[in-house]
Symmetry: C2
Subunit: 202 residues, 2 copies
């Protein structure tokens, strides 16, 4: 890597380069951009990060990020409180909210079971999910985890833990994505979408 002409510059670039997907060249470009901003603007940038980190809350019920103890979705009286959609992270909540197709509440695991990365069931919010079923009189748990091996493992583990409660467990539909050509769809997806075909509604 190139030698930077300043220790202060080097330190700032190293901080940026520690972010995921940011290489040294990009980090340098970003830091030089900040250098061209006013001192006040840079302070505002820095403060927004430290304030967020210091003051952020996670919803006590669903573990989504929130400025309040209970998030707006969990405290809304227009949501169906008896349906929980289980997701890996808060981006997934936002993606599902953006579809406008879901009116229940969420449960954010904060990760998925991944033995390779040393993440077990105790490291994510599974116990707290199980504990919600009875007091909140949950009717249905919708599993909306990634369609990967880790996602499948987590789905299966949660399903086994939920069985004693008698709650209905479903998972989001898997199949050919909208607009995709069969020719370019991978074999597993295509094979499963034939096995799990649904009645045609004409």
């Amino acid at each position: 890597m190139m030698d930077l002409p300043s220790i202060l510059l080097t330190q700032a670039v190293e901080q940026f380069a520690s972010l995921p997907g940011v290489g040294k060249k990009t980090a340098l470009r970003l830091v030089l951009h900040l250098l061209r901003q006013s001192e006040q603007d840079v302070t505002r940038f820095a403060d927004s990060l430290t304030t967020l980190r210091r003051e952020i809350h996670y919803c006590r019920v669903c573990h989504n990020i929130s400025d309040t103890e209970i998030c707006p979705i969990c405290s809304s009286n227009r949501r169906d409180k008896q349906t929980i959609c289980v997701v890996e992270n808060i981006q997934d909540v936002m993606s599902i909210e953006n579809t406008g197709q879901y009116n229940g509440v969420y449960h954010v695991l904060g990760g998925i079971i991944s033995p390779m990365d040393g993440i077990g069931p105790k490291d994510i919010e599974i116990d707290s999910l199980i504990e919600r079923i009875e007091p909140e009189q949950i009717h249905e748990v919708i599993l909306a985890l990634p369609t990967t091996m880790e996602g499948d493992t987590t789905n299966f583990y949660i399903y086994r833990r939920l069985q004693p409660t008698g709650v209905r467990v479903s998972q989001i539909a898997r199949g050919i994505a909208f607009g995709n050509e069969l020719e370019y769809t991978d074999e597993i997806t295509l094979g499963r979408s034939i096995v799990n075909r649904t009645p045609f509604v004409g």
Copy 2:
């Protein structure tokens, strides 16, 4: 754009998204990464930016970034102080230093003339370049600006300003880049590289 579940989160994401080449989705990913770091780590990140912005110096001679009033290159006694290489920005200094092919000093313009962006000769370090020629007894000025219309305009402007001083003015070689196929080289580059052909050294 998606609705974020927290005002603090929104503010931090907006700050990151104001950086060049960082979209809202990337900004969110970076902020969520920082949220997973310790409060101490986030403070260190933020401090590195504010400290840099507050304490950075620009070399009084060449305008490169420096922790000291005169940068290490300008104060080195192993550099040829009578040759100045004129570059647009500090990244260019680093790129040229990395080649190991240059032993003179630099002059960082901090931009190039671009009427479209409202950048004129007075907005960049051209006067200070002219003022260096006589007292520093400069023998040669090497123009190493981008090979764009703005670069050419700036080259020509500097050349005209330098003429009265009698200093030798050169520009970095233009032609086919190392490893490039002629077939995929643009017409202008290829055409010029024929016109400006150099003797073959066998």
